[in-house]
Structures are given as C-alpha cells and as structure tokens.
C-alpha cells in the first residue's frame, strides 16, 4: 500500500540527511521524495511517497515525528488531498509517428517543449493514473530519457 506523507521541516543544514537516513537506517523504502520551499523561508516541505503495510506506515510516521527538525506531518489518504506529479520525457519520433505522438499529447494536455528531427521533449502533469497511462502510451515510440519530480500534495480545505 502506498501512502503520501506531507512533512513540514525546518529549513536547516542536514535535514535531508536525517530524513533519508531514517528511512535507510530502519529499512523503509521511499518511492518518491520531493523537497521544496514554502511561504516561510525557515521551513521546507517534503512530500514522501512510501510503500508498506499499516505497521510500517505507523513506524515511519512516528519516527519522522520524533526528528527534532520535523515540525508537522500529514498522512494523506485519497480524499483529503490533491496531488500532482510533473514528468519530462524525450520520445523518439519518425516522420510517420510524429503526428500520433502529438495527438496523444493533446489528449493528455501534455506540452511539447522541444522539437528535434528525431525526438520530442514533452512535459506532462497529472496524478498517478494519468502519468502512468501517458508513459504506457509513449513506450511503443521509444522513450529515450525521462525525469519525474515525484508526487507533491496539498490538503483539501473548505475554508
């Protein structure tokens, strides 16, 4: 089972070492990890996707909360949050396939951000299912490179 954890941390020296080290030292796996600034320059937000059963998740959240630099931790289940991931990929195209690739990009509202004779660089944003479907559809054309941000998430709040 996959969980998305949103972790507000002190923007201090070594905080990533502590978080990453906690996972490796205790044998937990990180699927994706994203770190970025927040509105407050003194803090950063990490979005961590972890895989594990309830017992693993319970330990992960408790061990994270125990770190002095962890200010707040939210465990998002599906209905509490919105999440997105951004993927950049370079897809091989030939004259006869370029049109089809561009058509799929249209359907997925993906952006073509660089065009070469034999490939297209594409930017696509979405949730898990959209991203994996898009990659699945691009695979037959040949993905020569791909980079993903990992998931970022935001709590839903009805003011």
């Amino acid at each position: 089972m996959r969980h998305t954890l949103s972790v507000l941390v002190e923007n201090k020296f070594g905080v990533l070492t502590r978080i990453a080290g906690m996972f490796s030292g205790r044998g937990f796996n990180i699927d994706t990890l994203n770190v970025g600034p927040t509105m407050d320059p003194a803090t950063s937000r990490m979005t961590i996707v972890v895989r594990g059963d309830d017992a693993v998740l319970e330990q992960v959240t408790k061990q994270l909360r125990k770190l002095v630099d962890v200010i707040e931790l939210q465990d998002f289940s599906d209905d509490q949050s919105v999440d997105r991931e951004l993927v950049l990929l370079r897809v091989c195209v030939a004259p006869e396939t370029r049109g089809e690739v561009m058509q799929i990009c249209d359907i997925f509202r993906a952006k073509i951000i660089d065009v070469q004779r034999h490939n297209l660089s594409i930017e696509v944003t979405g949730d898990d299912s959209k991203i994996s479907k898009f990659i699945f559809l691009m695979e037959p054309f040949g993905i020569s490179d791909l980079t993903r941000t990992g998931k970022i998430a935001l709590a839903r709040k009805a003011d």
Partner: protein
C-alpha cells in the same frame, strides 16, 4: 572574561542576556558552565585545542584527559548514568570524532544523555579532504537524538542550550555538536537565550485519564498481573512512584537489564530481571501473566525471545514516553503515551482514592491481592534460583561476585564490560537502588566497564565503584588506568580472568560443537602462562594490582581492593568452562530455557 560565570556577565537590558566580546571557544565553555557542567572528558587535537585553551580558563569545569576518545565517551556515559545529568565529552575532528562514534551509539541505544563536542576543520576546508576531516555530522546522524554543525559563532549559545535540553528531556539521548575551528576562534558578543524554542520538539507527554482508569479496571479483573519495568523508570526518575504503585497493587515486578535497581531486587515482590539470562521465574511469570504492565521498556529481543510468542496470552499495557516504541516490536492492547513518573504518580492517586493503600510484607506469599499467583511464583522461585556448582579451590566467577556483594553490603556502584561477567554481575550482585548498575545493555560495547567506572567515581567520589569486568573487555580500554591514576580517581576493577572470550566460547559450545574461532586471548605457545600479565601492565600505569588464583585468598584480596584509596585492579583467575545459565536461546521462548547442563543446540538465524 571568558571564564566568567552567569553572575559576572550582567545583562545589558532586561530582555537580552549579552556577554562581553569573546571567542567561540570561550562562549562554548561559558555555555557549558551555565548548564551546570562540572566535569568534561576531553582529548585535544588540532581542531579542538582552541576549546581546550578556553577550558584552561574555566574555574568551575574539571577537564579530565582520557587516554583514548572512546574511554572519554564511556566515562562521560558513566557519569550520566549514575547522575541522570548529561555527561560531556570532547574530541578533535577526524579520528578523534570517529573514536566517539561507539560511545554515541551506546548512549543512543540505552537512552543516556550525552553531549559530544567535536572540533571540525575550518569551514573553508570542509569538503576538501582536509587533514583529519570527517563529516561527523553525517556519520553520527543515525545514532544521535539530534546533532549540529555550527555555521555561525552567534549560534553557539542557542545550540548548546538546545543540545542540553534535547539530551536531557523526554527520552534522553546523545546530542553531538560539531564546531569548525574558525568558529571557535571567531569573536563576538554572545547573546544567551533564556529559553529554548524548538517547534519540532515537545517532550512533554501526559497520560490521559481514560487510559489510566482503564488500566485500574484491568488490574481489578486480573488474576496473574505482572510489572515489566525498564530503563525508562530510571531515566524518568520514577523509582519511588513505581515502588508505591507495586505496593498499592501488590503486583510482582520483573525488570529488564537496563531497569535493574529501579525496584529493589531484595524486595519480596521483585522477581529480579527477565530475558535471555534472567531468572526462570521472571520469564515464566511475565509470559504467563494475564495482565502485563510494561513501563519504560522497548520489548527488546534479549527480553522477549521469539516476539510473537512473548506474553502471548496476556493483555499488554505499555506506558512509554517515546511514541515510536509503542507497537514497534510488539502490538499492545492499551498504549499509554506518557512520562512514566507522571503516569505512575496519577495511578497511585487513583488507587489511593479507591482505598488501595501501600502494603508491605517480608514474604511474597504474605501479600494477599493475588494469592494463587504468588503461590505459583514462589514455587518457580524455589525451584529455579540462580545456581552454580562451587569448587573448593578454583574460584568460580559467580562466587567472586557473591563475595563482592557481601563485602560491599550491596552498596557499591557496579559497572561492567560485556559478556559472561556482565550477566553474572547482574545475577549475583543484587541492586536495591536506581543508577547503581551501569552496563552497556543495548549496544553491548566491550571496553565499557572501566572508563564508565571512572565516570561514576568522579560523579560520586564517596561511593565505592567497582568495575566487574572480563579480561577481554578490560583490555579494550586498559589505557584509562592512566586517567584514574593521574587524576587520583579510585575506580576499582575486578577482572574475572578466564583467558577467553567467555560468552562467545559459550555459544561455540552450544551452537558450534566447541570449535574455537579466535576466542582464546592468552598465549597459545605457552598455555601455563597468564597472558597478558595485568600485574606488569598495572605497574606501568602506577596502579596497584593483585592476582588471585586460589579461593582461600580471595576474600582478603578483595577487601584490600575495596579498602584502597586509589585505583586498584584485582585480577581473579576463573575457569573458562562455566556457562551463563539460565539461558533462553535467541529467537526461542521461555519454555525452551536451559537451566542446567550443557546440551548442544541448533545454530538458528538469531543473534
């Protein structure tokens, strides 16, 4: 002004406590003084000598020079373990810092407040592979409660205050402060904060009333309740509250190795300690209890054996300050996240209101709350005492410890190394007070005993402090005899010398058909010679030492050791054929206990 104490740096105005201009090193020492530090174990080097210069200007801090950083770290731990105050150790960068890592990991696993201060290469050299450079921040990250690399001299007062706060509150632990040399040398006017502000750290945990009442209800229904208590009771200063709780509820008590002394072991409700080499009756009682109240413990594998079988039929309640320990190794029915003292004091209050007064008796069976249970426990206790076959001339290690108990009237502080002697020390010396049994339990660090004894003796100069050690463990930090001699610290060492790594030998006997895998510590070319010769070694250090081979000589020799006003080593030759019993093989259950005999076992996958 660098050696000034808090009284001599007047605040410039009410809100800001600002000192005179001084170097980072002097600021550090001033901060240590303000935290009440009276002793620091510190070994200088290029990246830390500026701090040593500042230490020479301190009027209140005694700086003790260990002869190896690991010795210094264990001494600081010994100091912390007997006082509850943070022990402080300092080392230089690179090898100095890496030599502290074992001590820091040791303090981490046993939840001991330790402040480790390391010098670091100057900031402009960091990452360049400079001489004696190690990224000690990253190296220690997984074995500290928290750590710091100081990046600005103005941060020192805040960081030191935070470090002591973190180390000594909640579940205690080690905190490392790494200070680059240029920051030690930088001059500033320090601002000393009055309070700590850490929004990610709130150590205060108080049980909720519902849970405490639920526990009282469970006790009311129980027929075979047990208390399983650990180091958290000692670090939480909750021994008195625990005793009152046990006497009000009349529930028998078994401790972990770390919990030894938190409940008086000579009390009739005490079943001594449980686990791999604990008493059969404690293990039986904990595993067959219908209600197990676990207080300040972590369900360690040396306690539980096969975790799925541990206390399988009982309702488990876990009172614990560290949320991550709850349901970590064992799922419990009623978790109570709380400072253990707070929980026990409030439970005592609830019991008092329910009319449960503390009652004391001289015998277990005189207690009346759970008569059938006491009868069962008394039967186990009578059938399975700690026992060994004594010999007329050869000195059995267990006998030596019993004799030490007799001669010290049970009032000494005992430290240990790691191995067979450590288990026998726990078995044959009885502890009635917290903070009197000082042992490396979680990490199991050989070489812990003698430096820890030095730290304990420095903290309690009026108490008898004896390191019960093995010849293997003692040799690992033997250089600390120099510190004891030069600084006139009368820490005693009782070496149970069998010329072997006894605990590994025991496992070889049990699991590996007695095939010896580098467990002999003596001289294979001359088996009649005792090697190394501790009398000669001690002579070199200027420490008196006696060797005892015959039982008839032991009592007088031990008395001479105890009477000595200076450090003293008693080298007691014991047979290496003894096994520590009882023994629950790792990964097994209490029903698999070996009480007597030398049967061979299958080497399992356990440790």
């Amino acid at each position: 002004m660098s050696h000034s104490t808090s009284s001599s740096h007047p605040a410039t105005h009410a809100a800001v406590d600002r000192g005179e201009p001084m170097s980072g090193a002097d600021i550090l020492v001033t901060c240590l003084e303000r935290e009440g530090v009276d002793t620091i174990f510190a070994y200088p080097g290029g990246a830390s000598m500026h701090m040593h210069q500042a230490l020479t200007r301190s009027k209140t801090i005694r700086t003790l020079l260990p002869r190896h950083e690991q010795g210094g770290g264990f001494s600081a731990e010994g100091y912390a373990r007997v006082t509850g105050k943070a022990g402080v150790v300092m080392a230089t960068s690179g090898p100095g810092a890496t030599n502290l890592v074992t001590c820091i990991a040791d303090a981490y696993l046993d939840s001991i407040p330790l402040i480790a201060i390391t010098g670091q290469v100057p900031q402009h050299m960091i990452g360049k592979g400079a001489f004696q450079e190690t990224d000690v921040f990253s190296v220690t990250a997984q074995v500290v409660k928290h750590n710091y690399l100081v990046l600005d001299v103005n941060d020192i007062p805040r960081i030191v205050k935070e470090a002591f706060h973190i180390a000594q509150t909640g579940r205690p632990g080690p905190v490392l402060i790494d200070i680059p040399k240029n920051i030690q040398q930088a001059i500033t006017r320090p601002v000393f904060p009055a309070e700590v502000h850490l929004r990610g750290y709130d150590p205060i945990r108080r049980a909720d009333d519902v849970a405490l009442n639920e526990l009282i209800g469970l006790i009311g229904q129980a027929k075979k309740p047990m208390l399983y208590v650990g180091g958290g009771v000692i670090s939480g200063e909750a021994s008195a509250a625990l005793k009152e709780f046990a006497l009000r509820t009349q529930i028998p008590v078994a401790s972990t190795l770390m919990g030894i002394g938190c409940f008086p072991e000579t009390h009739p409700l005490s079943l001594r300690w449980l686990g791999m080499h604990g008493t059969v009756y404690a293990n039986n009682a904990v595993n067959e209890a219908d209600l197990l109240i676990a207080v300040g413990v972590r369900f360690d594998d040396r306690v539980t054996g096969k975790i799925s079988e541990f206390a399988k039929h009982g309702t488990i309640v876990h009172i614990e300050i560290d949320e991550s320990e709850i349901n970590k190794n064992k799922h419990v029915r009623l978790p109570i996240l709380s400072d253990v003292k707070d929980a026990l004091v409030r439970l005592n209050h609830l019991l008092d209101r329910a009319g449960k007064k503390p009652l004391d008796h001289a015998e277990l069976t005189q207690f009346d709350a759970f008569p059938e249970w006491y009868k069962q426990i008394a039967e186990w206790r009578d059938a399975f005492p700690f026992t060994y076959d004594d010999t007329p001339d050869a000195i059995q290690p267990q006998y030596a410890i019993e004799l030490l108990y007799e001669l010290t009237k049970g009032e000494a502080i005992i430290t240990t190394g790691v191995g067979q002697h450590q288990m026998w020390a726990g078995q044959y010396y009885k502890f009635d007070e917290p903070r009197t049994f000082v042992t490396s339990a979680g990490l199991g660090s050989m070489g812990f005993g003698y430096p820890a004894a030095i730290g304990a003796k420095v903290a309690h100069p009026d108490k008898q402090v004896v390191d019960i050690d093995g010849d293997g463990s003692f040799l690992m930090n033997v250089q600390e005899l120099a510190l004891a001699h030069i600084e006139k610290i009368a820490a005693k060492a009782l070496i149970l010398n069998n010329q072997w790594l006894g605990m590994v030998v025991q496992w070889e006997d049990r699991f590996y058909n007695s095939n010896r895998g580098h467990t002999f510590l003596g001289d294979p070319d001359d088996l009649n010679r005792i090697y190394p010769n501790y009398i000669d070694i001690c002579k070199g250090f200027g420490v008196p030492c006696e060797r005892v081979i015959h039982k008839k000589d032991l009592r007088a020799a031990m008395q001479r050791m105890l009477d000595s006003k200076e450090a003293y080593v008693l080298d007691v030759m014991v047979p290496y054929t003894e096994h520590v019993l009882p023994m629950i093989p790792s990964g097994a259950t209490y029903k698999d206990v070996i009480y007597k005999g030398r049967q061979k076992l299958e080497a399992g996958s356990g440790l």
